[in-house]
Amino acid sequence: MYIVESYVVYIVISLAATVLVARTLHRNGRVFLVDAFRGNAELAGSVNHLLVVGFYLINVGYVTQALTTDRNADTMRSAIELVSSKIGTILLVLGVMHFFNLYVFNRLRRRGLENLDGPPVPPDMHVVPQ
């Protein structure tokens, strides 16, 4: 009986959560990437944008996929339980995606900083360049 309302509430809340997390990643991930790409802001912005698009695709895709249910929403109680459980799954998936994105940012940053070191072996002697 309440299935349509349940679906609507689920979609609205899930999409809102997706957008919020994506915007957080976009805004704060930028700093990681500028550091990783040695101050190249244009490249950082570009990679950031690409990562966020991917994030949206995966998450909106999953949200819409996970909508269908064969559980019943005939009573108010079962409708609330249904919506809660579905939103819960979405938030968990968003959480995993979020940490995965952080992992990717960190890897990029560490790879960029690695090349600032000198040779991995100490010199055997010194000369004065002629």
């Binding site: 040779p119 072996v121 010199p123 002697m125 010194h126 000369v127 360049p129 002629q130």
Partner: protein, 136 residues
């Protein structure tokens, strides 16, 4: 570190071949490849030990032998990760042994692979006579 001077043995075919390979590798720094017995090398680096591969940085740091080889790898974009791996305590002794084995036997390896050294090529070119130009 912007420039690295690589001092190699120009009378060894294997070294000449590796030098040619090194020249065309994408690198992080400017690699200047200099023959150990050339005038320029003797003038620039008079105190280097004889008969050893050497790498010298612009600020005077010198690496000899297998250390020099690792620094060469480190300077290349595609081999920097390998340089770091070879420098770990686990692989370092093996890298040293491998380098020293090749280095000690470089003349025989060059012969086996029929690699001509820079010095041999120079000598050969000097022996070639070119007839004077027909146009007068």
């Amino acid at each position: 570190m912007k420039t690295l001077y690589v001092i190699y043995d120009s009378s060894c075919g294997l070294c000449t071949k590796v030098r040619d390979w090194l020249r065309f590798q994408p690198s992080y720094v400017d690699l200047r490849l200099m023959a150990a017995d050339s005038e320029e090398t003797r003038r620039k680096f008079p105190t280097l030990p004889v008969g050893e591969l050497a790498v010298v940085s612009g600020d005077g740091q010198v690496w000899i032998g297998d250390n020099a080889f690792i620094v060469c790898l480190w300077s290349l974009r595609e081999y920097r990760l390998w340089a770091r791996r070879l420098a770990t305590p686990m692989l370092r002794p093996m890298a040293r042994q491998a380098f020293e084995a090749v280095s000690r036997n470089r003349k025989s390896v060059s012969g086996l692979l029929r690699l001509k050294s820079e010095a041999e090529l120079k000598k050969h070119l000097n022996e070639v006579t070119i007839s004077p130009c027909a146009l007068k």
